[in-house]
Subunit: 373 residues, 3 copies
């Protein structure tokens, strides 16, 4: 159930504004927008409904309220159109709609247009430049003027904190870390020595960047001798890392997450890995050391990638799968170990009857080979 909204009218920038309670960005002016303006800003066109309809928010079909705009991207949810309280809906160019009491926008990608709509209604909170009195910042750190550093943040020697950076409470930045413009570091995050965070990155709570890689050699007494882990982690620009994830530094050299890659919660990135641009790594996936994940690769939830291998650009590895071999670009892979997804679907279908299959084979052997089997 959606949280109630309470409305007020405040002076705005040429448009009505409202106060929204119980959303993440409290006390922010949220734009109220005419359908025509929304269409223009999201790259969609009005198919039906008045261009002057006022839209107050955006939400999924099931939880939208009157005044909201919603969307249909997956035909599975078509039945929800009949029941939605939304005042407008974004559809693709082919989708039919029988209701005539809802304004309709058309877009080639309704999900993308909806995302742009949400972003209009929920702009990022601007930072409130300030450094809390309880923050502990080493005098050797270079901190730009326009930053927001909250309570109990600790920043080590020779760090560089750029303009627009926001660091939430109880985060720890070790020595010689560099954080690029407009990046957001949430509470409980630890960033270890010498790591580099690019611009417009977001690191969610309790994530660790740059912990030691897991490397040991076995000595003559069969005990583990630690291999020094003195490399670093580099996040390029526009990288987002979820909560409670761990990205290890390289032993020597670096672990690199390239521009635009997105990493979910509870993900493990081993030492010396490279995650290329716009890759998407879902929750609880793990990469062992020195692997390379290509551009726009999607690793679904709980995937495992062994060490020292390459997943080619645009490949997809489906949930709970694993690979210990290189994956060619563009392939869709499933299973443990992973192979072609279509073959895997056939195998899983047969697997459900594997007990019966074994039984049938035995029967057949009896018939063909006689009773000796």
């Amino acid at each position: 159930m959606r949280a109630p909204k309470f409305w007020g009218t405040l002076p705005g920038d040429g448009c009505l504004v409202k106060l929204v309670l119980h959303t993440r960005r409290l006390f922010i002016k949220v734009v109220q927008m005419k359908l025509s303006e929304l269409a223009e800003k999201t790259g969609s066109v009005i198919d039906s409904g008045s261009p002057d309809v006022e839209i107050n928010g955006a939400a999924g079909l099931d939880i939208a309220v009157s005044g909201d705009i919603s969307f249909l991207a997956n035909p599975k949810y078509t039945p929800q159109i009949a029941d939605t309280n939304a005042s407008a809906i974004i559809l693709n160019n082919d989708a039919a709609i029988t209701r005539d009491d809802i304004a309709v926008l058309r877009a080639s990608d309704p999900y993308l247009a909806y995302t742009r709509t949400l972003r209009l209604f929920h702009p990022e909170t601007p930072i409130a430049p300030s450094i809390h009195s309880t923050a502990v910042i080493d005098p050797s750190a270079e901190v730009a003027e326009n930053v927001e550093i909250m309570a109990n943040v600790v920043i080590g020697r020779n760090c560089s904190i750029s303009s627009g950076v926001k660091i939430f409470p109880n985060a720890t930045i070790y020595d010689a870390v560099s954080i690029g413009e407009n990046s957001v570091i949430h509470s409980g995050v630890s960033i270890r020595e010498n790591c580099v965070i690019g611009r417009n990155c977001t690191i969610h709570n309790n994530t660790t960047i740059g912990s030691d890689g897991f490397g040991y050699a076995k000595d003559e007494a069969k005990r583990w001798l630690k291999i020094p882990q003195v490399g670093r982690v580099v996040l390029e620009d526009d990288v987002e890392i979820g909560a409670n994830s761990a990205i290890d530094c390289a032993s020597v050299g670096e672990t690199r997450i390239k521009r635009g890659a997105k990493i979910d919660n509870l993900v493990q990135i081993g030492h010396s890995c490279t995650v290329d641009e716009d890759a998407l790594i879902c929750s609880q996936t793990g990469l062992a050391g020195s692997s390379v994940i290509g551009k726009r690769v999607i690793l679904a939830g709980q995937v495992g990638i062994a060490g020292h291998l390459t997943v080619g650009d645009d490949a997809v590895i489906t949930a709970k799968s694993a690979t210990s071999h290189d994956i060619e670009p563009g392939k869709v892979i499933s299973g443990i170990p992973g192979f072609d997804n279509r073959e895997w679907l056939r195998s899983t279908a047969a697997y459900r009857r594997l007990g019966e299959i074994a039984q049938r084979l035995k029967q057949l052997e009896k018939k063909v080979l006689g009773g000796d089997k």
Copy 2:
């Protein structure tokens, strides 16, 4: 090996008390109790042994010491009865016992009776109302009088902290969070904006509540455009969340963990999920977005649940299994993807011989179809 105990006699409430060192609740008076009283308070009956035997503690058969009471729930551990040092044991109504030097209590559910016994010997430590001088609490937060807020806790604007709440050091409570009566927040926990924590909840260390859901739309340049995540997380009453878990907020709307649900360590709950009452989610399990986990469902360790599906009430998904389809109430499911547990057991048995099965099929083909295969 169990930690040694040192005894002392302190004024008590009509019964002997002792000091226990090396247990989690130091310096707490722990009740010493006659067998008769224990039986009464745990819903069990004395089968043999003096009602006046004094019991000092409770522990498993293998580590119990003289003066302890133990239990047998799983017949697998029956042999341990011969060797245990316990002075008393809780058995179900059918279990035989040959030793006559141990007092015997009978209960229909010995595990439950043992749990009640442990709870008698280890009552919760009452809070010591206080706010540490290093805690940073926004003046707009409403904080009840009877709370214990420890060092370096940070509490944001417009929060509401109810009576009996205990917050351990270095926890971070973002703006507009509400925490219900008698809830315990451990060190390193982060609770993000607008989340609601019910009464009698416990959140263990370094867990994140309300981090952004993992949602992006692909734009025309094949880059990921972030979908705003402005919803919240609601934990209803009596919810317990383990350590280092992450529960994401909804994009719009809420993620809800209902009354009495228990979630273990390193669990991922995706945005907009609902976990219904008394569900049990074991360690390292992950839920993608918008799924519904029914009442009393048990998800064992390392389970994966795909998005937008429903697991019916009382269903069980066994360890390391996954589902991308709805699960009917009461079903027991195993495998990747999951299917009926009994069928899965047959399939796994055959799978161990699959190499041989394939070989036998080939032989049979040769025999039937001739040498051309």
Copy 3:
């Protein structure tokens, strides 16, 4: 790409030293060393090259620069020898090399010799004894003189912190915790009541030691009744735990990680488990309660171990596998549930063709049994 190095000459202990920027241990003097000295200290012998060649660092073949020493342990990387910029290489006694512009050391275990080399070039940073003014240390805690306790660390009642201990910012040490000599606790770590950390242990960021085990009994109303978790966790000497892991305390008794065991990131260790000496547990592996992991066992990434079982000494469980049964010493196990690795390899090979196998069986049945099938 490896970070650039800037050199300087500083007074040293009878050998040249250098300053290394962009490595984890800033501003540390790093020894420059003659090949002869390196050979001696790593137990290797010079096969070719001048004993007086000066070596400045160590790195993998692909990223080594001139002046570095590298190594070859896995023949897979032999082709990299042709392209490496390293000035010296450690090879085993059999490996051939055609380049004569690289000095060659021979060692029976090049990986171990390389590890020792790296350790020579990157010695541990000595602690800078100090207690930061913002640390909150209960007066009842015993803290040795020679410790480094950083900003916002919180240490509870009756703790014991030994000489040489280093605690990074925002770590929380609950009551009655003992930390042995020379152990390192990274930022964001929580160590719960009564836990014991041995000597020379390292615990990486945001890890939780001693959170409550996940134990509940179902009551008559089918609700979960919490089983008190009042035991502790003991880490013996030389244990290393990665980032964002969780090790639960026992209900009664203890969870024990024995001497020299190494545990990676995001690992779950359930209550009352024992991990024996020199075991190696890789990332995202989970142990349910009361299991025993033998000496030198290797659990690869994302492995699952059910409760109350024993994995024998020197056993290996490969990545993403699971077991719900005891494993004999020395076995190599794969699959869910796990069985002999060689059999599993045969089964996985057949599994890729399982759809086709089922189809062929059907054809054969038709042929043998007639068209009725």
